[in-house]
């Protein structure tokens, strides 16, 4: 505050006619208070609809809280005790990580490859970039319905092609691994092009001189890619991994809608039930808000831990 006011005073001194004092007081008030008024809507709304519900989830998780209960009973950490002995929860956690790994690893490799191709001196450059980004506009619901059809066990196109090529049909819905691959392929389809553009932006930020110097030293394109481009992309790749982790651990729409008429989703044997899907089912089908809250809170801690770990690795890597 004190840093601002003298500046305003100096400005006033230079003016030919001093303004009336009321006007001056109003300006001082404006300078002092308005910045807070400008940021207040964000903090008030974010606190009320973002942060408070998240914290209140921890509170609800300490109760035996059914939907519509008037007087929920405090049960301490019982929900968590049940949760840690709940096979369905561990299974959901396994599925979530399995789908996440199947989607993130190939996705990043292909994204870097596509970015390298886009980084060439292409004709119709923007057109290619738009083409690559096209899947990003598909809604997850639309995408899942379409892929559910493509991966249909009986008349699906993927199985038709596999059969024609001489590989037997795969039951993409009933098998654990098969369903994980199918769901991961949806994630890959939607996000690979998007991540390719992010990597491309980082590639273009690499100074030309570095490449030219290597060229003069006789380094071929492959050598330059592995010795210059890839190391300089490291921070961006880690950024991509962090954001896809935070999103990937909360995957919901794909396992919910993968199987048409699949009831509440996740597969008959929970073979592709994920943590957020289990949360949803516990809360809004099982109507057990307390238990669902304990799932939410544990997942929240996992997400924060994984994001923190990523952040820590990033800092070490960048140093």
């Amino acid at each position: 505050m004190t840093a601002v006011l003298p500046k305003v005073d100096r400005g006033r001194e230079q003016e030919p006619r001093p303004r009336p004092p009321r006007r001056y007081r109003w300006t001082r008030l404006d300078t002092k208070v308005s910045p807070y008024l400008f940021v207040a809507p964000f903090f008030v709304l974010f606190g009320a609809i973002g942060l408070f519900p998240l914290l209140y989830t921890a509170y609800v998780s300490l109760f035996d809280w059914e939907v519509g209960a008037d007087d929920p009973a405090f049960i301490g950490l019982d929900n968590y005790r049940t949760l840690f002995e709940d096979d369905q929860f561990w299974n959901a956690l396994f599925n979530t990580f399995s789908i996440f790994l199947l989607s993130s690893a190939p996705q990043i490799v292909v994204a870097v490859l596509i970015a390298a191709l886009l980084n060439e001196n292409l004709r119709a450059r923007t057109g290619w970039r738009m083409g690559v980004l096209l899947p990003y506009v598909a809604s997850l619901v639309a995408l899942t319905i379409i892929f559910g059809n493509l991966f249909g066990p009986q008349y699906g196109l993927v199985n038709d092609v596999l059969t024609a090529l001489g590989f037997g049909p795969v039951d993409w819905q009933a098998s654990t691994f098969g369903s994980h691959v199918a769901i991961a392929s949806m994630v890959n389809w939607r996000w690979t092009g998007y991540n390719a553009l992010i990597v491309l932006a980082a590639m273009q930020a690499i100074p030309r001189e570095v490449h030219e110097a290597a060229l003069v030293d006789g380094a071929g394109p492959l050598r330059r890619f592995f010795s210059i481009t890839l190391p300089m992309l490291k921070p961006t790749l880690i950024f991509v991994i962090v954001t896809s982790t935070i999103g990937g651990l909360q995957i919901f729409t794909e396992p919910k809608l993968f199987e048409p008429s699949g009831g509440s989703g996740g597969g008959a044997e929970h073979q592709y039930q994920t943590v957020v899907l289990y949360l949803y089912q516990s809360a809004f089908q099982g109507l057990d808000l307390g238990y669902a809250s304990s799932i939410a809170w544990v997942l929240f801690l996992i997400v924060i831990a994984v994001a923190g770990l990523n952040f820590w690795i990033t800092r070490r890597a960048v140093k």
Binding site: P35, V137, A142, L197, T253, L299, F300
Partner: protein, 272 residues
Amino acid sequence: MINRRPSFLVYGLLGAFVLGSAFPFYWSYLVASRDNSVLTGDFTLIPGGNFWTNATRVFDTIPFWKALGNSFIVSGTVTLSVVLLSALAGFAFAKLRFRGRGVLFLFVVVTLAVPTQLGIIPLYMAMAEFGWAGELEAVIVPNLVTAFGVFWMRQYLVDAVPDELVEAARMDGCSLWRTFWHVALPAARPAAAMLGVFTFMQSWNDFLWPLVVLNADNPTIQVALEKLQSGYYVDYSLVLAGTTLATVPVLIIFLVLGRQIVAGVMQGAVKG
């Protein structure tokens, strides 16, 4: 040497990737344009003539137009609010000095990584309490601000508006609000437009929360699609006709604003 035109291999690989990206959209239309009997077995890439028949069946099965209207209302309101409130807070963080600015902005940055989606249970209780369950308020109000929006606008405004310009406006007797409205907001237009497009698409495609609070009579388009798909017997030419119809609006936005969207993704990468 670095500048020479790439080989056909590069175009070939990229072409294959883009075809793969576009294929599911086409497949959706393809199935939607036929009738169900054709789907079993014989594969073809030529659309049939049944699209409008199937589309009409979509309109008979779900309140499609209402859902579409609802999605426009929700996404439009959310976009307007996010852009305006983000620009306002972003301007304060970028150009005004006030006690606690550093700490408050750090808070914004930290909350970027917070998965607020996991707070849906208390949010659901609150909506039930307010009597908003089933109403559009329930999907609008929880999305009125994002930490990302504030961060994005602040990063842009730091460079886009010179400090001298803000000071000059103040000298001329502009209140801070008028300085925001007449100086900062016009300068922020490109960033605001990008934030708007991304917010709109995100809101349009949002599913988990709308599924929780809305019902089949008053859905957004995504919730309506889910109802279409979850029947006992799945009629794919019907379901994919709905999917195709629901994708058309975002596809149009993408075709018109694709250049800006590409730029937005690439800038977000550099600044984020």
